[in-house]
């Protein structure tokens, strides 16, 4: 049993959203527990997971919020967007409708959540189940890049929870962006208190700046 932590290391709430059955839970299970199963139960409401990362010799904690995918739950689950610092929006490359829903999820997210600097939170697009060999959608990388640019995603990854493709890469990419926005935010709001150590290449280590 893990007892109460008084760890002051950075803690980021990360949302994992997207249509029903695109593999949100599988991605999280792969990322956090290094396992995969075809037998996950449907998520009702929200499930939680915690990933502890070593990031440039400091510890970063990611609180993953696995949000149920059914549209009907939208009213109920959007209250959970509140304190998120980053998000994955997931679609299933074998189901075109889940891709079409992406913009809806992104708009929903942006309408509920803005950083204090009026930027939207770092959001990465995941094209999951790429192991299925039916990735017509994502074959055109240039088009996907443009799509991300147009819709405010910081990037996209072809992922497979089943074959462990690109999951931790995508997570690291997201964390990097969260860190960057954190730093930008700190700079813009309290420029005087920035220690010389804080620069773009090295994310902040000032643990007191983060609420645990």
């Amino acid at each position: 049993m893990i007892m109460m932590w008084f760890c002051l290391c950075p803690l980021f709430q990360v949302l994992v959203i997207g249509d029903l059955g695109v593999g949100k839970t599988s991605i999280i299970k792969r990322y956090v527990h290094q396992t995969y199963s075809t037998n996950y139960r449907a998520t009702i409401g929200v499930d939680f997971a915690l990933k502890v990362l070593n990031w440039d010799s400091e510890t970063v904690r990611l609180q993953l919020w696995d949000i149920a995918g059914q549209e009907r739950f939208g009213n109920m689950t959007r209250v959970y967007y509140r304190e998120a610092m980053g998000a994955f929006i997931v679609f299933d490359v074998t189901r075109p409708t889940t891709f079409e829903a992406i913009t809806k999820w992104k708009e929903d997210l942006d309408s509920k959540l803005m950083l204090t600097n009026r930027e939207s939170i770092a959001t990465v697009l995941l094209a999951n189940k790429c192991d299925q060999g039916r990735e017509v959608l994502t074959n055109n990388g240039v088009k996907m890049d443009q799509f991300c640019k147009d819709n405010g995603f910081v990037g996209w990854f072809k992922t497979s929870a089943k074959e462990n493709t690109n999951i931790s890469e995508a997570a690291n990419f997201l964390v990097k962006h969260i860190m960057a926005t954190e730093n930008d935010f700190l700079k813009s709001v309290v420029p005087d208190t920035i220690s010389p150590k804080l620069n773009d290449s090295q994310p902040g280590t000032c643990s007191a700046c983060y609420k645990s």
């Binding site: 996950y40 139960r41 075109p96 079409e100």
Partner: protein, 488 residues
Amino acid sequence: MKLVESVQSCYLIKAKGGYFEESKIYVSSLIITHTLSWLFCLFRGLFSKKHIEPKGLSQNVPGWKLFGKVAARESPPKDSRTIQQEYEARAGKAGSGGTSPTQPQHGRRKNLDFEPLSTTALILEDRPSNLPAKPVEEAQRHRQEYDEMVAEAKKRELKEAQRKRKEMKERFKQEDSIANAMVVWNHDILPNWDNMRNTRRVRELWWQGLPPNVRGKVWSLAIGNELNITPELYDIFLSRAKERWRSFSETGSEADDGASLADRESSLDLIKLDISRTFPPLFIFQKGGPYHDLLHSVLGAYTCYRPDVGYVQGMSFIAAVLILNLDEADAFIAFANLLNKPCQLAFFRVDHDLMLKYFAAFEVFFEENLPRLFNHFQNSNLTPDLYLIDWIFTLYSKSLPLDVACRVWDVFCRDGEEFLFRTGLGILRLYEDVLLQMDFIHSAQFLTRLPEDIDSDRLFACIAAMPMLNGNKKWSQVSSSKHKKTGK
């Protein structure tokens, strides 16, 4: 020396494996002893009536002795029936844990009287004659070590045997009480349902959990059929659903593209996706499983019956539990009526305001009953919706082990929505000490994924300790006052 070690390790495996391993180790020791003897083993396996006299064998092999409980002398040799019984007991244990109905009761009970059999093994007493003899002190030391091991193992096995005996007694007692309860339900209560359902005796018996084979019947009666659904009506909605599936599969997923969001929402695709994610470890609702089509039918018929509600995640779990306990049409009738209860309707319509009122009423009783944990959760920002949504939507069938969930359903059928929230408090009470030590994320994880070994008696003791009283207000008063307050 090496031989002694191997014998010791063989012995240790035995001691660990316990009673049921006995015959296996016995056989393996014979193999070590004498290459020829394995032919005997074969014979023993083939014609189990002709058992081997261990004493005779040990005499055949110079330097080796079978030690401890020499079966031939201290206990009557096993006849084929005993072996058969042992085999059955073992097979029963290895199986699902359920007892096969064909097995006679007394056959199993005989196993209650087993004795610890730790001491059948081998020891190298003297080295074979072609090797130099052991020094005296070494031989003595070996003997002493061996004696200690035997004594230790004997003690351990006796303890283990006592534990097992107690466990089995407990189980038989439980089985007996279930059998008795079944008779009472079938002969006394069900024929006089309306008169007896609210008597103290019945309510108490109900609290203990319903016997599995009257469960469905009692649920049906308790849920009622306010909606007056008949099996014929079910067939009508089912055929309507089938029609929709047909046109759906003909046009394929392409039809999805142009469809409005609302259409997509009610799309039968969702049901298909969710069915395979309903109780996956049971492997009966998955594609190709025996209940896959049944679950599909019940849910499909419901979306045709109640297009205003449609299919909402969580429903698949509820329908599945009903299907496990009722026939198809009865399961549908219970399903539709159950979902028509105010609390379920509020949740499955995702009426957010109404849901928040339920959560607020829950918090009143939470604070009243478990103030320390309540404050702890408040400090860590863990609001009840985070765990209650999962619990209420699935009526605990996802987060609790199925047998425990069914027992919760039993009393939920007796007491109504109040019991769902009371169960929630019982779970929090059961794990209060652990939860008080956890931060937000660990509590949230814990509560959405409860321990699989949760004991139903302990849980129900905790639930019983949660009186649903706030001052002198009952659940219904508190929740209706919440509903009114924001209604203005």
